[in-house]
């Protein structure tokens, strides 16, 4: 059998570099910095809840984090009662009481801390609250 003759042994790199750049751009774009929430919170499972997609959430939404220790935070910044109440009141003034007000509480948080936060929401005029749970586990921990 006749072997094909290789006249040019050097590989053409251009398509490979193109692909690699595309991949890099993809990863850079999809990389999401998730430091806007309390990452110590371990949520409970809620398979039957309404699926939450970050993209669909309106900018008016408010997520209040309640850690196991009772630490209440907004966007990973510890907040006092008065700060939370005024944040909710501002939203109620701007959007009415229909904006999504969500409580992300650790599954081991004693109810008294959650009740406290619910009380603050009620004080600010929000009766409709939602609790965030995990529909499907994807991350390793």
């Amino acid at each position: 059998m006749k072997k094909p003759k290789n006249e040019d042994v050097s590989l053409d790199m251009t398509p490979m570099i193109d692909v690699v750049f595309q991949l890099i751009i993809f990863f850079v774009v999809t990389l999401k910095m998730s430091d806007d929430k309390d990452t110590t919170i371990k949520l409970a499972d809620g398979k039957n809840g309404i699926v939450l997609t970050q993209e669909e959430l309106p900018p008016s939404q408010l997520t209040i984090d309640v850690a196991r220790s009772g630490r209440v935070s907004l966007a990973n910044v510890t907040m006092s009662k008065s700060m939370i109440v005024s944040a909710i009141k501002k939203r109620v003034a701007a959007y009415g009481t229909d904006f999504p007000c969500m409580i992300r509480a650790d599954k081991a948080t004693p109810h008294k801390y959650v009740a406290e936060v619910m009380g603050w929401c009620t004080e600010a005029g929000m009766w409709k609250l939602s609790f965030v749970a995990i529909q499907e586990h994807k991350s390793k921990n």
């Binding site: 990389l31 109810h111 009766w127």
Partner: protein
């Protein structure tokens, strides 16, 4: 001034490819898959409406959540039993109000589990009370 002579006008690709591969490996390793979240809606009874509301509805389900587990209409049971009870009741009517009363020291996970069961059977009239 004498110009530098270039023997090989082709740009050297090897370092660039090295860097690009390093970047790729970095991003592949650091990418983290996020969990899919769900939300469970519930109502907080208005302080003054609480008394009147409870008299309007004839069918009411009472779920008490304690530190160790749940009590449904006065009987303590597992979450599995609660699930089948709610399923049976939801078959006749999903309109009835579910009153969820939580003890101060009950873990939040139990409340989420109860809300999840209610959501499963389309019971959306949920009110959460807190007990001292």
């Amino acid at each position: 001034m004498a110009r530098k002579e270039y023997d090989n006008p082709k740009a050297e690709m090897t370092p660039m490819i090295d860097v690009v591969f390093q970047l790729m490996i970095f991003f592949i390793v650091t990418i983290k898959q996020e969990d899919i979240f769900s939300k469970l809606n519930a109502n907080r009874p208005a302080p003054n409406a609480a008394a009147t509301q409870s008299e309007e509805n004839d069918t009411q389900l009472k779920i008490d959540i304690g530190r160790k587990g749940v009590v449904f209409n006065g009987t303590g049971m597992s979450f599995k039993d609660l699930d089948s009870n709610i399923k049976r009741l939801a078959a006749s009517s999903t309109k009835s109000t579910v009153l969820i009363r939580c003890a101060a020291d009950s873990p939040h996970g139990f409340l989420v589990q109860v809300l999840d069961i209610c959501n499963k059977y389309k019971m959306y009239n949920l009110s959460i009370f807190s007990m001292d």
